[in-house]
């Protein structure tokens, strides 16, 4: 089987659109609400989840034949928890400001349903390379939604993007006001709802 056979490509690309973990499988919503008030933590969170899903999928797939069936969930959790701890430590050492912003949510990646879902559904019964691709695909699928939500929340809530002012002072002088509601976690639910709406309207077969 070649590196990018049809099945492998499918594993990588289907989570980006028709099998998206957030808008189709509706997994990992809680962290999507929590870290999207600004764009930067959303990007870092998406990246962290991508790395962790990819490597936990890879590791679990590599040892899938040795895992005792009765403790497989525990084994998966240990692998994920170890990876999450390493990522969190690396962030603290090299991107301190971001790790302060993400605070507990990096730790909570452990309980992100996307990870356990993919490990149980894909990595336990597939070879390492497709599993790795599946992890990357799902991580990016999750990251895309986070970035879309983070983009709108930061733009409308604070008038900035990645911390840079993008709404010109001219607008404020003429009565434009930042929408403080956008910085509240509830608004990200509504935004995710809008994304799902748009996505389903475009993909008729999902309806």
């Amino acid at each position: 089987m070649s590196m990018f056979s049809k099945a492998n490509k499918e594993a990588l690309t289907s989570p980006l659109n028709l099998n998206n973990p957030v808008v189709v499988q509706v997994l990992g919503i809680c962290s999507a609400l929590a870290v999207t008030a600004q764009l930067e933590p959303a990007i870092v969170m998406g990246l962290s989840v991508t790395i962790i899903t990819a490597f936990s999928n890879l590791i679990i797939s590599l040892i899938r034949k040795t895992i005792p069936n009765r403790i497989r969930i525990i084994v998966q959790l240990v692998v994920v928890a170890a990876l999450v701890t390493i990522v969190s430590q690396v962030l603290k050492a090299f991107a301190y400001d971001v790790s302060v912003q993400l605070s507990v949510y990096v730790g909570l990646i452990i309980t992100n349903c996307i990870l356990m879902g993919r490990l149980e559904a894909f990595a336990m019964m597939n070879k390492p390379w497709p599993s790795f691709l599946d992890g990357i695909g799902n991580g990016i699928g999750y990251a895309i939604i986070l970035i879309i939500v983070g983009f709108f929340r930061e733009l409308l809530g604070a008038g900035t993007l990645l911390g840079f002012q993008v709404v010109p002072q001219w607008c404020y002088d003429h009565g434009y006001v930042n929408n403080g509601m956008m910085t509240m976690p509830a608004m990200s639910l509504i935004l995710v709802g809008c994304v799902i709406w748009a996505h389903r309207a475009y993909n008729k077969d999902l309806q």
Partner: protein
């Protein structure tokens, strides 16, 4: 080729060329007989499961211990830089690049002291090493210059907000008359509401406000729009409890520093306006007990 089979009735294994009709050992019928996988070990056995778990846990433990100890110095350095950044923010140095923090801190902070609640200076202690949770038992003080070049004491404070701890740094003039700058931060206040105390917009309200009124610390935070005195600062709308927490922290926190300062009146630090003990209040005063008027400004007129 002979294959291995197991009989679930007698538990024995035996070899046969193909699936037998009944167990050659106990005679059980075919439904009790299943083929044994010739390759690999039984991954569902108890011994295997326990060994697997034990080995996995030990491996992961060593890996995490290694990562943690390898990254510790870098993490500690980040925490220290972040604290310095917060102290600098109270001196109105904001938005400074991470690489410049150290130099700016060394330039502006001239001396640090740690006082006991009795106002005694702890020899050789660095205020920077005092952790936030120790404030109240120890009083770390930084003698510094603000961005504008004024002399200031930076007083670290700790308090309690709605969901978790608050802390902050308030820079005051050496006589505790006026606030020169302030910085507040929180553990877990509501984003968009209580968390706004972290923003410069809220903190800059403190600048140039008087600290004391009638010999006591009066600086505090009140509900937005209800401030009556210069010492009352507008809180954040919609975050009443967080604002209250900041007000309480500032009011009682600075008062504790004033008390400690006044108790240790003989140490070399500059003093806030302490209530000096008046001569007329002491029994050995020459004019004690005489008619009112003999005491002028706390001292007997003729002395």
């Amino acid at each position: 080729m002979a294959k291995k089979f197991i009989c679930s009735q007698c538990g024995q294994t035996f070899e046969a060329a193909s699936m037998p009709d009944k167990c050659p050992i106990c005679g059980a019928d075919a439904s009790h007989i299943s083929p044994v996988k010739s390759k690999g070990i039984n991954t569902n056995g108890n011994v295997y499961t326990i060994c697997y778990a034990a080995v996995m846990v030990v491996l992961v433990a060593f890996l995490l211990a290694y990562v943690s100890s390898a990254l510790k110095p870098a993490q500690d350095a980040n925490v220290a830089i972040d604290k310095k950044k917060q102290i600098l923010a109270s001196l109105n140095v904001r938005g400074i690049a991470k690489s410049d923090v150290e130099a700016k801190y060394n330039e502006l902070i001239q001396e640090t002291y740690v006082l006991t609640p009795d106002g005694q200076e702890i020899e050789g202690a660095d205020a920077f090493d005092v952790e936030t949770k120790e404030i109240g038992e120890k009083f770390p003080i930084y003698l510094a210059k603000t961005a504008e070049g004024e002399d200031a004491y930076v007083l670290p404070l700790k308090g309690r907000g709605l969901w978790g701890g608050l802390w902050g740094y308030v820079a005051v003039t050496l006589d505790f008359e006026k606030v020169l700058g302030a910085y507040f931060d929180h553990e877990s206040e509501t984003a968009g509401l209580g968390a706004l105390i972290k923003e410069e917009k809220f903190q800059s309200q403190f600048i140039d406000r008087p600290v004391m009124a009638d010999g006591k610390v009066a600086l505090t935070v009140v509900k937005k729009g209800s401030s009556e005195a210069e010492t009352q600062i507008d809180g954040v709308t919609g975050a009443t409890l967080t604002s209250k927490g900041v007000g309480e922290m500032v009011l009682t926190g600075i008062q504790q520093y004033v008390d400690a300062f006044c108790k240790g009146i003989d140490n070399a630090l500059a003093q806030p306006q302490c209530e000096a003990e008046k001569c007329c209040d002491k029994p050995e005063c020459a004019c004690a007990g005489q008619e009112a008027g003999a005491c002028q400004e706390g001292n007997c007129g003729e002395e």
